[in-house]
Amino acid sequence: MDAEQITGMIRASLVELFGLDPARITPEARLADDLEIDSIDAVDLIDHVRRATGRKITAEDFRAVRTVGDLTHAIERIVRS
């Protein structure tokens, strides 16, 4: 999975899970403040990413994630490792 595919997967997940307008999903968008994705949603999001990537992912991997861009980088790191 390359960076582009990961970005696409995240975009699709956010649209599907939270019914977000794709135009709001920019790398700078803050998950909590701009997209209203809270710690409860994060659990579902992590589940979704886990299924999409087939990797073991824990909430710990996403502690420092604030924006959509951060999320992309965090998943890239996991997929590469």
């Binding site: 939270f18 409860i40 994060a42 659990v43 579902d44 589940d47």
Partner: protein, 279 residues
């Protein structure tokens, strides 16, 4: 639906009383209820210590599987709380009413209750002897309550992901789970607010969700009320189990986060309506 009442106190035979729930009672009655309340608090403290220092450690020595031990710890805690409430009724500090208890404690059942008073958890755990309780993280900071919380297999409400996964696992294992979606006691008269965690757990793993409506008349033991402010009448605590809610239709319609939001809205409306109905 079965209704149960516990209200007979030995003081009724001694103190003149026109009507248990008359608007005003004598100052003698109120003075007695102050003493009775103080005795109840002392008993609660002693019983809690005895449970943490003697009963639960002893129970751990008795052989048995993890599951047997957990059930044993839950039953011991439940019995302690029942004893406390019986004392409070006997001394005339409170009366109690239950409705629909026989439908609580089923496998995979998520019980959601509002949280008006200090002793809501005591009332629920006393009534249903084998429950997995989602409790404040503060319980794990005090060594006594931590031991009890561990033995009884409670789930901490923090961090959020562990709460959701812990409670969902308990439900999938066939336990019955109790949660207070308000998260903490809320002020009477304020609009209800539910944290979405409870709805998220319901959507993830509950076979059935049963709302439980708690009330105290007059309102007492709230967040802003010290214990020694004795209400003008004997307190009547009521616990009423509402109709089951099937989470399946919510799940089918939408992905989990959206279904959780919808379910939470449904719960809020339901509780707001039902609590306006009961006293």
């Amino acid at each position: 639906m079965r209704r149960e009442r516990y209200g007979t106190s030995f003081v009724d035979a001694i103190l003149p009383r026109v009507n248990l729930h008359a608007r005003r009672t004598s100052s003698l009655d109120r003075a007695w209820r102050f003493i009775a309340t103080a005795i109840c608090y002392i008993e609660f403290g002693i019983a809690a210590l005895a449970l943490a220092l003697v009963v639960l450690p002893l129970a751990r020595l008795v052989p048995g599987s993890e599951l047997t031990r957990r059930t044993r710890a839950r039953r011991a805690i439940s019995a302690g709380m029942r004893g406390f409430l019986r004392l409070a009724v006997f001394l005339g500090a409170i009366t109690q009413e239950y409705e629909g208890l026989e439908r609580l404690g089923r496998p995979g059942q998520l019980i959601l209750a509002n949280h008006p008073t200090l002793i809501d958890a005591v009332i629920v755990l006393a009534a249903v002897p084998d429950l997995c309780c989602v409790a404040k993280q503060a319980l794990w900071r005090n060594p006594f309550t931590r031991a009890a919380a561990r033995a009884a297999g409670c789930v901490s409400n923090s961090p959020t992901d562990q709460m959701i996964e812990g409670a969902a696992d308990a439900l999938r294992q066939g336990q019955s789970v109790i949660m207070f979606p308000e998260g903490t006691r809320t002020m009477p008269g304020q609009p209800l607010q539910f944290h979405r965690g409870a709805a998220a757990i319901a959507i993830r793993a509950a076979r059935v969700v049963t709302p439980v409506y708690m009330s105290s008349d007059p309102p007492t033991l709230g967040k802003h009320q010290p214990w020694y402010r004795i209400p003008e009448r004997r307190i009547r605590f009521a616990m009423r189990a509402g109709s089951d809610i099937d989470p399946e239709p919510f799940r089918r319609g939408a992905p989990a986060p959206l279904a959780g939001r919808e379910f939470n809205r449904h719960l809020l409306e339901l509780f707001t309506r039902e609590l306006a109905r009961s006293p």
